[in-house]
């Protein structure tokens, strides 16, 4: 084990997979010589050279189109979209082309590609550089959607995403880049579609993703210490494929479900999990399902405002307490 930051884990995962497979190539804006605007890809150009790690112009459609064309002809490309907000300028390639072509072609081709992107708020970047777009991605058949909460998961899940035969959108939460944890030094792969039970409790199940996971953990500690409420915390890790088995098992035990989402409220992933639980696990519930989300509003820039709207540990605690009343 070594302590790695979430940021360092990105390059560790890419390097691990590039050493293993010559068909893995990596392109994006400022990812090679500059090492990435978030310094997530430092060292890759030095180790793998400019043919495999290649800077592109500011051309998101070209980046993702090229990624798709390469994936369907034998490579395993990784592309970076610098901020996930920029998916809006190349969404056609993602949604109409990458996601649908295998299906439309009656299974003639596969698209083993990964699109990494810095997602989410907390960095005071304002409404066009802070969005959580996992709910856009999840709504499109044909895309796998992964969002790690720790450095260890960045390494393991990104490795799995690169090895996966299908297109994966890999959302790195930019406010987590500086966080550190123990990360296995050797080959580390965490399968997609396995939620992670971080803490076992008996009163309530809190399901969270990415930056909401450490906040949910903090809330669970407060609930235990100050209110004697015992919470399970589940890191969903991947929205597609979705590990409903792990979530259902816990909700059956606790009878209470709280989802914590960073995305704006409407059609967030928590709504999907809530509806599944309501349809399939209704009689196990002991109270209403509660969704904690960012409001249905763009993120403001000022730190005081941004902190006020994103779900905090305090807001999670308050919502669980309401449920316990």
């Amino acid at each position: 084990m070594a302590q790695l930051s979430y940021r360092e884990a990105v390059s560790a995962a890419i390097a691990q997979e590039m050493r293993r497979d010559d068909n893995v190539v990596f392109i994006g804006e400022d990812i090679a010589a500059a090492g990435g605007v978030f310094k997530t890809t430092e060292g890759l150009l030095d180790e793998f050279g400019p043919i495999r790690v290649r800077d592109t112009p500011i051309s998101e459609q070209a980046i993702l189109g090229a990624t798709m064309g390469a994936a369907m002809t034998g490579l395993r490309p990784i592309a970076e979209i610098m901020f996930s907000d920029f998916f809006a300028v190349c969404w056609d390639i993602v949604v109409n082309q990458i996601a649908k072509t295998r299906f439309m072609s009656d299974g003639q081709c596969t698209f083993p590609l990964v699109i990494r992107s810095a997602n989410g708020g907390g960095a005071r970047f304002g409404a066009q550089h802070s969005q959580s777009i996992e709910n856009w991605a999840m709504a499109v058949p044909g895309l796998k959607v992964v969002a790690p909460s720790s450095a260890a998961d960045v390494k393991g899940l990104l490795a799995a995403a690169i090895r996966d035969p299908d297109p994966v959108l890999f959302f790195e939460q930019k406010s987590l880049y500086g966080t550190k944890c123990d990360v296995p030094e050797g080959e580390h792969v965490v399968p997609l579609g396995k939620a992670n039970v971080l803490r076992e409790g008996s009163d309530v199940t809190i399901v969270a993703l990415a930056a909401m996971v450490p906040r949910a953990m903090k809330a669970a500690e407060t609930l235990q210490q100050e209110h004697g409420i015992s919470a399970t915390v589940i890191d969903v890790r991947s929205l597609v494929p979705l590990d409903t088995t792990t979530i259902f098992k816990s909700v059956s035990k606790t009878g209470r479900l709280v989802t914590v989402e960073e995305n704006p409220r409407l059609c967030g992933w928590g709504a999907e999990i809530s509806s599944l639980v309501a349809e399939e696990l209704f009689w196990d519930l002991e109270g209403p399902i509660v969704r904690v989300t960012t409001p249905h509003c763009p993120l403001p820039s000022a730190d005081a405002l941004e902190d006020a709207v994103m779900p905090s540990a305090e807001r999670i605690v308050a919502n669980v307490l309401k449920l316990a009343d």
Partner: protein
Amino acid sequence: MNDSNGQIAAAIAQATTPDTDTRLELYRSMQACRMMEQRAYDLFMQNLIKGTSHLALGQEAVAAGFGAAMRKDDYSFCTYRGHNHTLVRGVSMTGILGELMGRECGLLSGKGGSMHLMSMEHGVLGSYAIIGAHMPIAAGAAWSAQYRKSGQVAVCFFGDGTTNIGAFHESLNFAAIWSLPVVYVCENNLYMEYTPISQVTAVENPAADRASAHGLEPVLIDGNDVDLVFATANAALDKARSGGGPSLIEVQTYRHGGHSRADPGKYRPDEEVAAWMKRDPVVTYRQRLLDAGIDAASLDAIDAEVTARVDKAEETARNSAPPSLDIAETDLWADGSSSWRN
């Protein structure tokens, strides 16, 4: 970076007339496109083809000329007007008509339809129905060929309307800076859909006049002259294969019908239509071959053979069952399923 040195123009100027066998193949290929699409039109009228379809009647020389010049393992990227570009790579006519009719024998078992014909085994890497989307994808296939040192070239066909969308410019720049083995072919048929391209474009020649902006040689040819298209295709493919990078070719042509099934094309002046009908690529090529001393019987035999092929394809497709409902939700993922939860 600026490649307006006339390499392609020079190669075209040096091209010799194709030999008789090649010319007969070009004729056969154009006739197959023409007759297959005329049959597709008839099948619409009988409501055996549903939805929409975009025919390339009148533009056959482009697909035929490039198809004859391409190596078997080269890649084609087509638009929603891509029946012919798919056929010329050796894809089965039954598969194409069956797909248009939504039958089990269809190329994609009915999951794609008229606008999405694709056959990986023939190098047809898809037909794309969002304007310009396939241009960067073709660049990606070319990048892959370059990376794998395979010698393959990607050829990407698109219409004049595509020259005004962002992906056109992103792709040309991207292909140029990475010197990718890709040939971009703009089929300028004068109308973006219903609107004349000249009304919505700042330059006269929508692709050729933009070439120099991306360091490329402006190439503008008569797209109804299949010998010329063939020579141009050879020049651009050779250039790409020998590491010379991308090309942008604008071919001038005309569609005989409207934009799609829903469009009778009445916005086009009668004189314009009449003038272009005189330049019908199939009719004029037949005359050129006769003038060159090829006997009418050889051409008639080709016509009969193609007619029989279309008849057989139609019959097979008509007799083919609708696709099994079992496939409606398959092959979203590589494992064959569309499962999203455990």
